[in-house]
C-alpha cells in the first residue's frame, strides 16, 4: 500500500513513480519519493542512499541547487544535471541560460576551466593542409586571400606566382590541357603550336628540327642582334621561363604583330617589345621551346648563334617543335638587342629585322641555308614568281643594296644585292637563292593552299601572293637588291634583305624536299647578322647592309635592354647557323642571294632586291627610339630613319648587318638601353652595316627600317603594323584589295622612312624603279603609297588599344579578310592577327575596352598570363598607343594583365621615342592591316572544367553579396558566424499547459478499467461501475437460495427422518472398531489435527473414539500440530483424557521426531522434555488415531509417523477428505477410516449401541439439503443454458 499513489481524479492506485494514472490517464503529481532500484523501497528525495538496502539512489552527486551559477561570477558553461530516474520535466531554474536563449557570456568560455578549445588552438590542425595549395586552404582568421592577386599581370608576376605555387601545387595536366585546349582565335590557334590552329600541325618536327638547328637559319635571329652576349644577362631568367609551349602559344602569336609595341612613352625600363623582350619569354622562345609556329615558320632556327654564349638557356626538347631562329639563338637575341636597342624596338620587330648583316654574311658562307624557316619559304614567292625586279620597291632595295656594297666591308647591303640581282631575279635558276623556295614547302602546307601568306609577311614580301603560291617561283630579289652604298638610306636596300632571304633559291630549287626548317634556316642564315661567320650569301648581306653602324654604346645599351632570354632561348647552338636577320641586314647581299639550303650549304647570291626590302634595310632601326636622328644612316641610308624595331641599339661593332629598315638610331637606341645590358659583354653596334659578317658578336643596330618604324611614332603601332612602304607596297595583290594606308608618318629629318611596300610585292605592274640613292629610297619608302603599302603585319602591330574606333577595325577587317582569303597565304593570314583578334585576346591592344580580368575569369591565376612572351607584353602595351604617336600606355590600363602591361610599358617607352614619321608610317602600315577581329565573337569561350573553376581562388570568383550572418556572441560557439540558432523548442523550457478540453472517460472505458483492475489487483474495488440492478438481483437470488437451503435443513432436523434404516458399517468402520478393540489397554496416540471449522464432523468422531478407548482403558496421549487442535484436545481431555496435550511444531520434522520417540525412548519431543512416564508411554504407543481435516496433515502423519514406526493408524476425516484417505486405506497404510457424519452415525449405531438423535437429525437434514442442492443445480443449469443461448444474439446486436 505504501508503494502506491492514488490518482487525484479517479482515486485509483498507481505505482509509486508513475507520472500518469493507469486508469484515467490523469497526470500524477511528482512523486515525493524515489524508489530504490534494489529493493524498491520508497525513499525521500533528499536521500542519496536507500534507507532499506543502502543502494545508491542518485548517481550524480551535484544537487540541482549547486548548478545554479552564482550572481556576479562568470557563468560557466554547464549542462543541466538531473537524476537518472528523474523523468519529469526539467525545472526551469535548472536550465542554463545559454540553452534557453542560445546566448552565453563570453566569460563562460574560459579556457582555464576546461571548456571547449578555442579555434586558435585548433590552428595547428591546419598543418595538415600544408599539402594543399595555399589558395585552397581556408584561413578562418584571415579574410585575405591565400595569395594576393597581382595587381598587374605581368610576366614577372606570373613567374613569381609559378615559383610560389610550384611546390605547392602542380598544375594538373588537365589544367594545362584545358588551357591548351582552350578555344583560341583562329589567328592564335594557327600560330600556337599544338593548338587547334591551322598551322598547328605545320610545326616542324622537333626531332628533325633539333638536328637541323645547326643548319637552320633563324630569320629572327638573323634579324636580331649579332651579339648573343647581350642575352646573357637574361639567360637565367629566360631559363626559368618554363612555359609550356601550348600554354604560351596563344600569347606568342600575339607578339610580333602588335606594332603597338613600338609606341612607348612610359619610362618603364622594360623594352618596348615587352613581349619579345621579356627575358623569360625570350629565353624560352629563343631556346626553341615556345616559339609559335608562325615564328618558327618565319625564321630559320638560328639557335646556334644565340645559344653559343648562352648555355644557361634550355635547349628545346627533342620532341618540341623548334622555334624560329630568333628564339633559338641567344646570341642572336643579344645581338638583336644590342643592335636594335632592346628598349626601343619591340621584339617582334627585332625578330623581323636582322641586326647584323655581318652575321648574315658570316653565316651565309659557312652554313648551309637549310635553316631557312618555313615561314621564309612561305614568305617568299614560289618558284615561278615573276621577278620583282624593276619594281620601284625592289629598285629601292636594290639601290640600297648597291649602296651598301660600296662600303668597305661591302657586306652591309649584301643581303640586298646578289641574291636579288643574280639569282632571285632569275626565276628559273636553281642555283640562286630562291626566295620562294624558302617558303615553297610551307606554302604548300598551308591550309587552303600555299597561296596565302600572312599579311604581315605579305607586306614584307611580294604583294602578289598569288604568285607566290601559284607560280611557285623564286622571288625576284632584284627587287630587293639595293645598289646603293652601304651608307645609303635604307630605302636603297629595303628590298635587299628580302633578296637575301631568297637564299632558298640556291637550294630550294634543287631540293624541294627540304624541310621547312631547312628553308627557314637557310633563309635566316642568309639574313642572319649575328652569326660569327660572315654571311657569304648575298641574301644575308642585304640585311647587314640594312643595318646601321650603331655606336658601341648605343649598341650596348640597346642590347642590354633586349632580354637576353629572348634570344637565349634559341637553342641553336650552331655557331654557323645563319641569322636570317643578319643575312637580311648587312650588305652581304650575296649571302642572301646565294643563301643555300641545308643541302647546299651555300647561300646563294641574290642580286636584286625590291626596293622595299632595301628600304627595310638594316634591322637595326630605331623604331622605338626616341629620336631617329640618333640613328646613323646605314649604308642604305635609311638606317637612321628607320625605327629601331628591335631596339637593339648599337652593338659597337659598327657593322651594320641589318638593312636600314631594320636599323635604328644608335643614339636613340643607346639612350633607351636599359641597365640590363651588360656592357662588358654587349658590344655596341656601331653600324649595322659595318659589322663584318663574321662578327657574330657585333650586332648591327639601328636598322634603318626599324628606325623608320620607330619614327612612325605611336601611330605606327596603333593596331596594325605600319610596315614601310616597301612592305606595304608589296602587300598589294591588287590595289583594290589592299588595306587602307595608315596615316602618313612624319618623316624624320634624317631617318629614312621605311617602305615596306613592295617588300613582297611582285606585281610587275606596280613595280617601281628602285631608287638608287638613299634619298630616293627614302622617298620611295615614305612615298604616298606608304600608307597603302604598309604591310598588314606591320599595320597590325601598330593597331593599339587606343585605336578604339571601330572603323579601323572594321574596314581593315574586311580588307584584311579579303586579303587573307584571297591573296595572302593562309599561313600568313592566320599568322597575322587582326585587330579584332588582338582586341579580343589582348584587351587594350585593339583599343577596345575589354576586361582582361573577365577574359581570364575562368582561368586560374596561375595560368593567367602564362607563357606570355615578351612580345606580347609589348603588344599589350602597344595597344594603348594613341594615334598621336605618343605612347598611350597608362598605369590605369584596365583589364590588362601585369605581364602584358609591363611589355606595354616597354613598348610604349620605346615607341615614345620614335620619330613621328616613323610612327606615322607604322601606323599607316598598321592601318592597312585587317582589323582585329574579336575572336570572342567567333570563338566560344573556353570550356573550363568545373573542377578548375572550383579551384579558382575566392579572390578570383565573383563576389556575391551574401548576407552577413550574425556573430555568435555567447555560448560555446561565440565568435563564429553562421551558427544555427537554437530552436525555441529546445531553448525554452517546456511548460505544461492544461488541455483546454477536460479529460473525459466514457462508461466503456470505465468498465474496461474496472476489469483491468480486477485482474491486476487482489482487492475488489470498493466502487463498482456496474449497474445496481444486476447487483441486487444476484443478492436476492443468493438469499433466496440460502433460505431455501436452511429450510431444507430445518426440515430435516425437525422433519421426519427420511432414513428409515441406518446403513450397515463399512469395512473401514469395522476396521476401526477392530483396531481399537485390539489396542485395548495400550497407549493410544490421538492427534487432533483439525480446526474449529472441521469440528462439526470431527468432534463427534473424536468423542466416539475416545469413549471407546476409555471403555477399553487405553491410555490416551493427545498431540496436535495446530494450536486450535490443542484447544479441541483440551475440550476432550477434560472429559476423556487426563493430561495435557502436546504441541508438536514443524509439521513433518516434528512428526519425524515423534516417530523416532515412538520407536525409541526419547526424553524430549520437539523441545518437550518428557517425564519418565510419558517417555514410557510414548514408547508403548500401539495405535495412532489421527483426526484431521487437512490433507497435508493426513499425508504427513501417514508418511512420517505410520510408515517409519510401522504402527497402525486410524484416521477420522471429514467426508470431503475421504477420497484423499481412500488410497492409503487401500494400500494398507491406514487400517481404518471414519469419514464424515454418516460414518459417525453408523459407527455409533453399530458399535456403541447408542443413537444420537442429534446425529440422525443432522444426517436427515443433510440428506434433504443434498437433495435440494441437486435439484437447484439441475434447474440452474437448465436456466443458464437457456440464457447462454440467448446472450450471443444480444452480443451480436450490441456489436453491430
Amino acid at each position: 500500500m505504501s508503494h502506491q499513489v492514488p490518482c487525484p481524479n479517479c482515486h485509483s492506485l498507481n505505482t509509486l513513480g508513475s507520472k500518469f494514472c493507469n486508469n484515467c490517464g490523469q497526470r500524477l503529481p511528482p512523486s515525493t519519493k524515489i524508489l530504490c532500484p534494489n529493493c524498491q523501497t520508497p525513499n525521500p528525495r533528499d536521500r542519496f542512499y536507500c534507507d532499506n538496502c543502502g543502494k545508491r539512489l542518485v548517481e550524480e552527486s551535484l544537487p540541482k541547487e549547486e548548478q545554479k551559477p552564482e550572481k556576479g561570477s562568470p557563468q560557466k558553461f554547464f549542462l543541466p544535471e538531473r537524476d537518472v530516474q528523474d523523468l519529469s520535466d526539467m525545472e526551469p531554474g535548472s536550465i542554463p541560460d545559454w540553452m534557453k536563449t542560445g546566448e552565453m557570456p563570453l566569460s563562460s568560455m574560459d579556457e582555464e576551466e576546461g571548456d571547449l578549445p578555442s579555434i586558435e588552438e585548433l590552428a595547428p590542425l591546419r598543418k595538415t593542409t600544408d599539402e594543399l595549395p595555399t589558395w585552397l586552404v581556408d584561413n578562418v582568421y584571415s579574410s585575405a586571400p591565400p595569395f594576393e592577386p597581382p595587381k598587374e599581370i605581368t610576366t614577372d608576376n606570373f613567374l613569381e606566382l609559378l615559383r610560389a605555387t610550384e611546390d605547392e601545387m602542380d598544375l594538373p595536366d588537365e589544367m594545362a590541357q584545358a588551357a591548351s585546349q582552350a578555344e583560341l582565335p583562329d589567328w592564335l590557334s594557327d600560330i600556337v603550336p599544338g593548338a587547334t590552329g591551322k598551322l598547328a600541325d605545320k610545326s616542324p618536327q622537333p626531332a628533325a628540327q633539333e638536328q637541323e638547328e645547326d643548319d637552320a637559319d633563324d630569320w629572327l635571329t638573323q634579324l636580331g642582334p649579332a651579339h648573343t652576349d647581350l642575352l646573357e644577362k637574361d639567360a637565367q631568367t629566360v631559363d626559368s621561363w618554363e612555359v609550356d609551349e601550348e600554354e604560351s602559344n596563344w600569347l606568342e602569336e600575339l607578339g610580333p604583330i602588335q606594332t603597338s609595341l613600338l609606341d612607348d612613352d612610359d619610362d618603364d625600363d622594360r623594352p618596348v617589345s615587352g613581349i619579345l623582350s621579356t627575358s623569360e619569354f625570350a629565353d624560352q622562345v629563343l631556346a626553341g621551346d615556345k616559339l609559335p609556329d608562325w615564328l618558327q615558320e618565319l625564321g630559320p632556327a638560328q639557335t646556334g648563334q644565340l645559344t653559343e654564349e648562352k648555355p644557361a638557356h634550355k635547349p628545346p626538347a627533342a620532341d618540341e617543335p623548334p622555334v624560329s631562329g630568333i628564339f633559338e639563338s641567344d646570341e642572336f637575341a643579344a645581338q638583336v638587342r644590342q643592335a636594335l636597342g632592346t628598349e626601343d624596338i619591340p621584339d617582334w620587330l627585332k625578330e623581323l629585322g636582322p641586326a647584323q648583316t655581318k652575321s648574315l654574311e658570316e653565316t651565309a658562307d659557312s652554313e648551309p641555308h637549310d635553316e631557312i624557316r618555313e615561314w621564309m619559304t612561305q614568305i617568299g614567292p614560289p618558284t615561278g614568281i615573276p621577278s620583282v625586279a624593276g619594281t620601284p620597291e625592289f629598285d629601292a632595295l636594290q639601290h640600297a643594296r648597291n649602296a651598301a656594297t660600296e662600303d668597305e666591308d661591302d657586306d652591309i647591303y649584301d643581303w640586298l644585292k646578289e641574291p636579288a640581282d643574280e639569282e632571285i631575279i632569275d626565276k628559273s635558276q636553281d642555283s640562286r637563292v630562291n626566295f620562294a623556295n624558302v617558303f615553297e614547302e610551307p606554302i604548300t602546307e598551308i591550309e587552303g593552299g600555299g597561296d596565302d601568306l600572312l599579311d604581315w609577311l605579305q607586306d614584307l614580301g611580294p604583294t602578289e601572293t598569288g604568285q607566290l603560291s601559284e607560280d611557285d617561283e623564286a622571288i625576284d630579289f632584284d627587287l630587293f637588291q639595293a645598289e646603293g652604298p652601304a651608307d645609303e638610306p635604307v630605302s636603297d636596300v629595303s628590298g635587299d634583305w628580302l633578296a637575301e632571304l631568297d637564299f632558298a633559291n640556291d637550294a630550294e630549287t634543287d631540293d624541294e624536299e627540304e624541310t621547312d626548317d631547312d628553308l627557314d634556316a637557310s633563309f635566316l642564315r642568309a639574313a642572319s647578322f649575328i652569326d660569327d661567320e660572315p654571311i657569304s650569301s648575298p641574301t644575308g648581306e642585304w640585311l647587314s647592309e640594312l643595318s646601321l653602324e650603331p655606336d658601341e654604346e648605343e649598341a650596348d645599351e640597346q642590347a642590354d635592354t633586349l632580354d637576353s632570354g629572348f634570344f637565349d632561348s634559341l637553342t641553336d647552338e650552331d655557331e654557323t647557323s645563319d641569322d636570317w636577320l643578319s643575312e637580311l641586314g648587312p650588305a652581304q647581299t650575296t649571302e642572301l642571294a646565294g643563301f643555300d639550303t641545308a643541302d647546299s650549304g651555300q647561300p646563294k647570291q641574290t642580286t636584286e632586291f625590291p626596293d622595299w626590302l632595301t628600304e627595310l634595310g638594316s634591322p637595326q632601326t630605331n623604331v622605338l627610339s626616341s629620336s631617329s636622328d640618333e640613328l646613323e644612316s646605314p649604308p642604305l641610308g635609311a638606317s637612321d630613319e628607320l625605327p629601331d624595331l628591335f631596339g637593339m641599339g648599337d652593338t659597337g661593332d659598327g657593322d651594320a648587318l641589318l638593312p636600314d629598315w631594320l636599323s635604328f638610331d644608335e643614339e636613340e637606341a643607346a639612350a633607351d638601353i636599359t641597365e640590363d645590358i651588360d656592357e662588358e659583354t654587349a658590344e655596341p653596334i656601331a653600324d649595322f652595316f659595318d659589322i663584318p659578317p663574321d662578327d657574330t658578336e657585333q650586332v648591327a643596330i639601328d636598322p634603318a627600317w626599324l628606325e623608320e618604324i620607330t619614327s612612325l611614332g605611336e601611330d605606327a603601332f596603333t593596331g596594325e603594323l605600319d610596315a614601310p612602304e616597301a612592305i606595304a607596297a608589296l602587300d598589294k595583290p591588287a590595289a583594290a584589295q589592299q588595306p587602307e594606308p595608315p596615316e602618313p608618318v612624319d618623316e624624320p629629318e634624317t631617318d629614312t622612312p621605311i617602305e615596306f611596300d613592295g617588300f613582297f610585292h611582285f606585281d610587275e605592274e606596280e613595280e617601281e624603279a628602285i631608287p638608287e640613292t638613299p634619298e630616293a629610297i627614302e622617298e620611295w619608302i615614305t612615298g604616298a603609297e606608304l600608307e597603302e603599302e604598309v604591310p598588314e603585319w606591320l599595320s597590325q602591330l601598330g593597331q593599339a588599344a587606343s585605336e578604339s574606333d571601330a572603323d579601323i577595325a572594321s574596314e581593315p577587317s574586311e580588307k584584311e579578310a579579303d586579303l587573307i582569303v584571297e591573296e595572302l597565304p593562309e599561313w600568313l593570314s592566320h599568322m597575322r592577327p587582326s585587330t579584332d583578334a588582338h582586341a579580343s585576346s589582348m584587351s587594350g591592344l585593339s583599343g577596345q575596352e575589354t576586361n582582361l580580368a573577365n577574359a581570364f575569369e575562368d582561368i586560374p591565376a596561375e595560368l593567367i598570363g602564362a607563357d606570355l612572351p615578351e612580345w606580347l607584353e609589348d603588344v599589350t602595351k602597344a595597344s594603348f598607343i594613341t594615334e598621336g604617336g605618343e605612347a598611350g600606355i597608362s598605369e590605369e590600363i584596365p583589364d590588362i594583365p601585369d605581364w602584358l602591361q609591363a611589355g606595354l610599358k616597354d613598348s610604349s617607352d620605346l615607341l615614345g621615342k620614335q620619330e613621328p614619321e616613323i610612327t606615322n608610317q607604322l601606323s599607316a602600315l598598321l592601318d592597312e592591316l585587317p582589323p582585329v577581329r574579336d575572336p570572342r565573337s567567333e570563338l566560344a569561350k573556353a570550356d573550363i572544367p568545373e573542377w578548375i573553376q572550383a579551384l579558382k581562388p575566392q579572390e578570383m570568383k565573383p563576389k556575391t553579396a551574401e548576407p552577413e550572418r550574425p556573430l555568435q556572441e555567447s555560448g560555446p560557439l561565440s565568435g563564429i558566424r553562421g551558427v544555427v540558432e537554437i530552436e525555441p523548442v529546445i531553448a525554452t523550457p517546456h511548460t505544461a499547459t492544461i488541455s483546454p478540453t477536460p479529460f473525459t472517460v466514457t462508461k466503456e472505458q470505465q468498465e474496461q478499467m474496472r476489469l483491468l483492475r480486477q485482474l491486476n489487483y487482489d482487492t475488489v474495488p470498493e466502487t463498482t461501475v456496474a449497474g445496481p440492478s444486476a447487483t441486487r438481483t444476484s443478492a436476492i437470488m443468493r438469499t433466496v437460495l440460502a433460505l431455501l437451503l436452511i429450510g431444507a435443513i430445518l426440515a430435516g432436523l425437525f422433519g421426519p427422518n427420511l432414513l428409515r434404516n441406518t446403513p450397515a458399517p463399512t469395512a473401514a468402520l469395522t476396521a476401526v472398531h477392530e483396531t481399537i478393540e485390539a489396542a485395548a489397554g495400550q497407549p493410544v496416540l490421538v492427534a487432533f489435527e483439525y480446526t474449529p471449522a472441521m469440528a462439526a464432523e470431527l468432534t463427534p468422531q473424536a468423542e466416539l473414539l475416545l469413549s471407546q478407548l476409555a471403555a477399553n482403558d487405553s491410555p490416551i496421549v493427545l498431540v496436535s500440530q495446530y494450536a486450535t487442535g490443542i484447544a479441541q484436545a483440551q475440550n476432550q481431555e477434560q472429559t476423556y483424557v487426563p493430561g495435557t496435550p502436546f504441541f508438536i511444531p514443524a509439521e513433518a520434522i516434528g512428526l519425524r521426531e515423534l516417530a523416532t520417540c515412538l520407536n525409541e525412548p526419547c526424553t524430549a519431543i520437539a523441545g518437550h522434555f518428557l517425564e519418565t512416564d510419558l517417555q514410557q508411554t510414548f514408547n508403548d504407543v500401539s495405535l495412532m488415531i489421527v483426526l484431521t481435516g487437512e490433507r497435508d496433515s493426513l499425508v504427513n502423519w501417514i508418511e512420517q509417523v505410520s510408515t517409519p514406526s510401522d504402527l497402525p493408524i486410524l484416521v477420522g476425516v471429514p467426508q470431503s477428505l475421504q477420497p484423499v484417505a481412500a488410497p492409503y486405506l487401500a494400500s494398507g497404510q491406514i487400517q481404518g477410516m471414519m469419514a464424515g457424519l454418516p460414518d459417525t452415525a453408523v459407527y455409533a449405531q453399530a458399535y456403541q449401541n447408542t443413537t444420537d438423535d442429534n446425529i440422525l437429525k443432522q444426517l436427515n437434514a443433510q440428506h434433504l439439503a443434498q437433495i435440494f442442492v441437486l435439484v437447484f443445480l439441475i434447474v440452474g443449469g437448465i436456466s443458464a443454458s437457456f440464457n447462454r443461448a440467448a446472450s450471443p444474439t444480444k452480443a451480436k446486436k450490441q456489436k453491430s
Binding site: A1096, E1097, T1203, P1219
Partner: protein, 207 residues
Amino acid sequence: MSELAGLIIGLILTLLIYSYIWGDNPLYRLAIHMLVGVSAAYAAVILVTQIFVPIYRELLTPSGSDLLTWIIPMGLGLLLLLKRLPRLSWMGRGTMALMIGVGAAIALLGALTGTLWPQVTAVNSTNPVLNLIIALLTIATLATFQFTGHTDDHDEWIRPWWQRIGLAQIGQAVIMITFGALFAAVLNTSLILLIERISFFLTKLAS
C-alpha cells in the same frame, strides 16, 4: 450466563458470517477479522506455553539440559528473527536454509517411502484390468501437464505425441472428474457444517 453470552456471541458471529450471502459487507469483514485475530492470538499463546515456557523451565532446572546445549538452537532461532530486518536479513539465511533443507529432505523421503512406493506396490494384482486402467489414467493425468514439443522447419510448434494421440485429453477428463468428486465432498462438508451450526443454535437456544 456465560454459556448464554457465548451462545449469543457465537450466534451473532455466525450470522455475521452468513451475511456474506448479500455480498461483501463490513459485518462479514468484522467477523472474519475477529476470527483471524483470535486464531492468531491463540496460536501465539500456545506457542509460548508449549514451547518457550518449557524450555525456559528446563534451563532453569538445574537437572535440566545445559545452556550450552541450547545456544546453537537459540542462536539459530535468533538469526531467524533477523529476517525481518532488511539490513540483517542475510543473517537468517542460514537458519532458513537449514530448515528448508531438512524439511525438503524429510518431505521427499516421506513422499517416496510413504506414498509413492507403497502406492505403486499396492496395486491390486487380482484385477489387472483395473490396475491397467488405473495406470493408464494416471499416466494420462501426468501427460496432461507435459507441454514439451518441438518446432518443425516452418517454425511451427508441434505438440508432443501424447497430446496428438489424445492421452492428454484423457488425463484432462480424469482431472475434471476428480475435481468434481472433490467438489461434491467439499459441498457435503459445508452442508454438514451449516446443519451442525443450525442445530447447535437451535438446541442450545431451545435448551
